[in-house]
Amino acid sequence: MAEPVLKLINLKKKYGKFTAINEINLDVYSGEIIGFVGPNGAGKTTVIKMIANLIQPTSGGILVQNIKGELQNIYSKSNNYIDFGFLIDQPYFYKDSTPKQVLRYLARAQHYPKKEINNRIDKLLKMFNLYQWKDEKIKNFSKGMRQKLGIAQALLIDPKIIILDEPQTGLDPKARIELRTLLRKLQRNGKTIFVASHLLHEISEVCDKIALINQGKIIAFNTIENLENNLKTNLIECQLLKPIKNKNNNIIDILIKALEPYLDMNMISELNKKPIYINPDNNNLDIYFDGSKESMAEILDILVTRFKPEIRLVSFAQQRTSQLERIYAELLNEYNEQKIPSTIINKGENVAIAR
């Protein structure tokens, strides 16, 4: 098996008595996009700051591949490890400087070939639609523009490892889509990308693996498919033509009885204790089923044939995002209640979640 390009070993960070990061182990392999997901205050930025050498861990270590292909401690003095690009927190630049001045300074400070600097800066600024503002002072920039400039500086010297902390913050929907496309393109070019976010759905589409972090610990680390399969609960979202008249939960009970063989009856949801419920936000019908495609087909068939006057479907779709969000919520819930067996806590290997 190939050596990882970045390896976190028993990483721990304490602030006084408070443990911000507790024994984190993580292997990141070349060409992977790893999503680092957790609620606010889970410890994502702390881990990234340690990788960026802005703070030092209390114990444990971070190994990074060097130019010889060997793993090397990131805190060692001979820093001949492969290049990193960082976007940490919300980027702030020298306000009286222009994007061109700042990027030029950062490129030269990182010894990027002098002749290529201007072309590289122009290319990045065009990529992020900032080219027309290249000579404007950054103090006049919006939050989204600063964020784009922050991502541009992370890619400035074409680094092999790109570490992005909440890159979608402040970006408009179009820019978010473009960012996802960019991440995929960078991956195709062999870059290793580590993206931290508290918005699981924002990064789940582009990540090969997701590490869920809570209270300074990684509670799951695996591919999205494996995370879903191991939890074995899946959600179908049914958009209805008109809201269901649901007096005393009667229709829901009838639906559960009719669809019982195909439902996930063991599900534990914070939202509802029943596997079918009407989403109060959009009046959609949410059905938690066993995950098989046959069951999905049967459910559709039953809804269309047996519940036609009450239920008229506009769309019927398995929501990947919703599932992930639910997995995420459930994992956090189970972790907080200490239901997750210690065996699924990652020990540096890609361990699947088992229930």
């Binding site: 703070i55 990193f84 702030y92 950062l106 010894h111 680094p159």
Partner: protein, 292 residues
């Protein structure tokens, strides 16, 4: 396979980095200096104009425009008068250039971009040298204007003028080191500037006055302002000979106080160098420990 990988552009750059590590570290610092100079040039132009106008208004125009205004008999006296308020300009300039040298990277959060790339120490050294270049240029403009005026009014320049200039450079360096120390642990630039100006312009003098009451015989070796007096008193003919009376006693409100005028040349330089060393060591320690 590995050999092929080593041939790509980035790896070649890293190999180059290993071979020329010292050169590239110096290059990073040089790039930071240039960036710092570009960032602060407007501030510099402002102070350069103030320096020039200061000399023009106090040391040139009165003698040229007002015939009754007596020109000092000697060049020594002329320069002593001309440099009376010089230290105030230097204190304000040093505070504005160095007040935010470290804390601004934390309070404005620009350190998140700069520190992972350049490193805290290299960024500080680059910014420090960039700042000191401007301070030296401001001092240079002040002395150049005063020197040209001295040359014009007296026909030649005395050697002591150049000695005073060197002392001014050393003193400003000590001041910048001290302000950097304050910036290394204070929260933001404004606070750092206000505290630096308060200490150097007001606090230092208040402490000296109190000390002259409490311990009149104790020479204020702790005071940078006191040390900076050698910039002016070097023009006293007895100063370099070590024969100058460096204090005088006065009675104020029934108290006998000792007013210290200037340290000896050796003591003045020792105070300034001590300020540099004592300030810079904890500055680097605070910088290393301070977290974003």
């Amino acid at each position: 396979m590995r050999t092929l990988q080593l041939l790509d552009k980035e790896d070649l750059r890293m190999v180059l980095y290993q071979k020329n590590k010292t050169y590239l570290t110096l290059k990073t610092i040089a790039v930071t200096i240039i960036f710092e100079l570009k960032r602060n040039w407007k501030k510099f132009i402002g102070f350069a104009i103030v320096s020039f106008l200061f000399v023009l208004a106090l040391s040139i125009l009165p003698y040229v425009l007002i015939p009754e205004y007596p020109l000092p008999e000697t060049q020594n006296e002329y320069f002593t008068e001309g440099l009376q308020f010089f230290i105030i300009i230097i204190i304000i300039a040093a505070c504005l250039f160095f007040g935010g040298i470290i804390c601004s990277e934390y309070s404005n959060r620009t350190g998140y971009i700069v520190f992972p790339i350049i490193g805290k120490q290299k960024a500080f050294i680059g910014k420090f040298i960039g700042g000191i270049i401007y301070i030296y240029l401001i001092i240079g403009i002040f002395y150049l204007t005063l020197g040209i005026a001295g040359l014009f009014l007296y026909g030649k320049l005395i050697d002591l003028f150049f000695m005073s200039f060197v002392f001014a450079l050393i003193c400003s360096l000590a001041m910048c080191c001290f302000i950097s120390l304050l910036s290394s642990f204070l929260k933001n630039t404004t606070l750092s500037i206000v505290i630096s100006i308060t200490i150097l312009l007001v606090g230092d003098r208040i402490l000296s006055t109190l000390m002259s009451l409490v311990a009149p015989d104790f020479e204020p070796f702790y005071s940078l302002n006191y040390a900076s007096n050698i910039i002016i008193y070097v023009f006293d003919n007895d100063f370099l000979l070590g024969e100058m009376v460096r204090f005088h006693e006065r009675y104020r409100m029934g108290f006998e106080i000792t007013v210290w005028i200037t340290p000896s040349l050796e003591a003045g330089l020792a105070i300034m160098i001590s300020y540099m060393v004592i300030s810079l060591i904890p500055t680097f320690l605070f910088l290393k420990r301070r977290q974003l």
